[in-house]
Symmetry: C2
Subunit: 343 residues, 2 copies
């Protein structure tokens, strides 16, 4: 491995500078990505290992980030469970057979990754080969709550009414669903690691809609199961819960070697709350990348100061890159992180 | 005043039970409201004092809440500033001349409430007359950031890209806009109080999109100005910042007699952080009203326990009532709060 600074930071070892990668770094803000996206649908790109591998590598080549993250969608493993998934134009994901009842949950299958998502695993292998040790490759999965929310709501949601209704009205159905999803998440991530992923991130993108008590009762046991099952796979696990600053202690309790935090909390406050015996990832407001590079630089310095050169900080955004972001600003960000964090 | 338990709680005086009112308690979940809404547009309802007064009173009569809140929209005072506002069907508010530049800001006028929003003030007078001292009437306004976000984005927004871009790229334009809006908020709220409002709430509905540093630099001075100007009007001021649990200390620093909190934080933790020398309002997840009354009751008890009978708790939701909420559940909530908080 030529550049293992990201992996060392995940293990809270000393590093020469703070590593940086960016959520959704392979994406629409990049001309190279759009050149492919214009020719193929989003799902075609996900399901064609050569294309997925190519866009995974684009930001590594262009931005100089310290890790690659696999290009994929968190909903892909749901198809193998029996979920009828479509990416409708301009609408985001649509699930045509949402999960409403005990029977629906019973019908869901566990997945065999090599059979159900072979293209994801093949993309992992291709990327590893093409990276040839330049930087590590991160695999990922949605967290149980976030996947459940899509399955129940039939897509994205504003208020998660159906999801919460199931939680509170039919907790046994809810828990049965979460157990099934958790098993899928574990086998999906283990398969990615077996194929070559050198770290994995679990995204709980929408769990910030929950009150702390509800997280504790309805989500934590399942996220903890996932984290425990991943303890022995031998790669660092990043646990990112978005818009969930008030859940940080509980997210930490669920587990993970690295806890990801969004931009709504000061990084020093977040680290103090989760404890210094765990690594932290974050946390620039993604919209700050729209600001002039001078402003970006100031914000980078401020976050690095809050991290205080303590081992175990991985620089990232607080959520995915916005598609309108100028790529030059992203490059400026990566340079600023490297420059101002030099030990 | 027959029932002043809400006002006493705002002043942290002893009360016989915890008062409760609900954000958006006059709204579409109520059949009485829909009967009027079917005949008039939303703006017609806002601008016809008799209709606004009628829907303001509906939840007082039906639910037994301890305060009325004026039926109005936070964007109404913007029209007098020169903003071209429309409520497009199914789309929410649309502003046809969003604020983009220094010139746009210069063109904005300060308002004369009695000339620009006479219907709001007339509605206040009507409600006071019809309430006849049964419960107090709360007036309200959007907070400077939230109003600015609508003016800049031209409506609701997901990522507040234009808003943040102005903040970071043209801070002098941003601050000029915020100063103008702050003056409008102050004169608007003072006029409501002069017309008879017995408390006011300032809603910072969308400020939760900001990192703490950005709140401190770009919002706090303006919200503080508003709160300071309202100190001598003689009514309690409630300051509610939505999805802003990590900003609570800063919101408190900006001011207000009562700090409103959303459901993403435990009420005891929130109160500890803002300090016990200020009252607190909140904080049931509005979607919990979809759950069976048994679950609602449990959640009410849990929040009341966290408040611990300390003087100065006003029960509320963590955000507005959802339109799909069964009205019987809302009644059950109000009853549960009264029953389980009896001293």
């Amino acid at each position: 491995m030529q550049n293992d600074v990201f992996l060392r930071a995940c293990r809270r070892e000393e590093v020469e500078y703070t590593p940086v990668w960016l959520m959704r770094q392979a994406g629409r803000y990049m001309e190279e990505y759009m050149a492919i996206r214009r020719k193929y649908s989003f799902l075609e790109m996900c399901k064609t290992p050569e294309l997925a591998a190519e866009v995974t590598l684009q930001p590594v080549n262009r931005l100089g980030v310290d890790a690659a993250i696999l290009f994929a969608d968190i909903l892909l493993p749901l198809e193998g469970m029996g979920i009828d998934l479509e990416f409708a134009k301009g609408e985001g994901p649509v699930i045509h057979n949402p999960v409403c009842s005990e029977e629906d949950v019973k019908r869901l299958r566990l997945i065999e990754p090599e059979e159900d998502v072979p293209y994801v695993l093949e993309a992992v292998r291709l990327v590893r080969k093409e990276l040839d040790g330049r930087v590590p490759l991160i695999g990922f999965s949605g967290a149980p709550f976030t996947l459940a929310s899509y399955m129940i709501e039939g897509g994205g949601s504003r208020n998660y009414v159906n999801c919460k209704r199931m939680m509170w009205q039919a907790p046994e159905v809810w828990h049965a669903l979460m157990e099934k999803i958790s098993k899928v998440v574990v086998s999906y991530l283990k398969a990615q690691v077996a194929a070559g992923a050198q770290a994995v991130q679990v995204f709980d993108s929408w769990v910030g809609t929950l009150a702390p008590e509800d997280y504790r009762d309805y989500v934590l046991p399942h996220s903890r199961y996932v984290m425990e099952q991943l303890k022995d796979v031998g790669v660092p696990v990043i646990h990112f819960a978005n818009n969930a600053s008030t859940l940080l202690e509980l997210v930490r309790e669920a587990g993970g070697d690295v806890i990801g935090v969004d931009w709504r909390i000061d990084l020093d406050e977040a680290w103090r709350r989760i404890g210094y015996d765990v690594a932290i990832q974050g946390n620039l407001d993604p919209i700050a990348l729209m600001a002039p590079p001078k402003v970006i630089e100031e914000k980078v310095k401020s976050i690095l100061e809050k991290a205080g050169n303590r081992p175990g900080h991985i620089f990232n955004l607080g959520h995915g890159i916005n598609k309108e972001t100028p790529v030059e600003h992203v490059i400026a960000l990566v340079e600023a992180v490297h420059k101002y964090s030099k030990r």
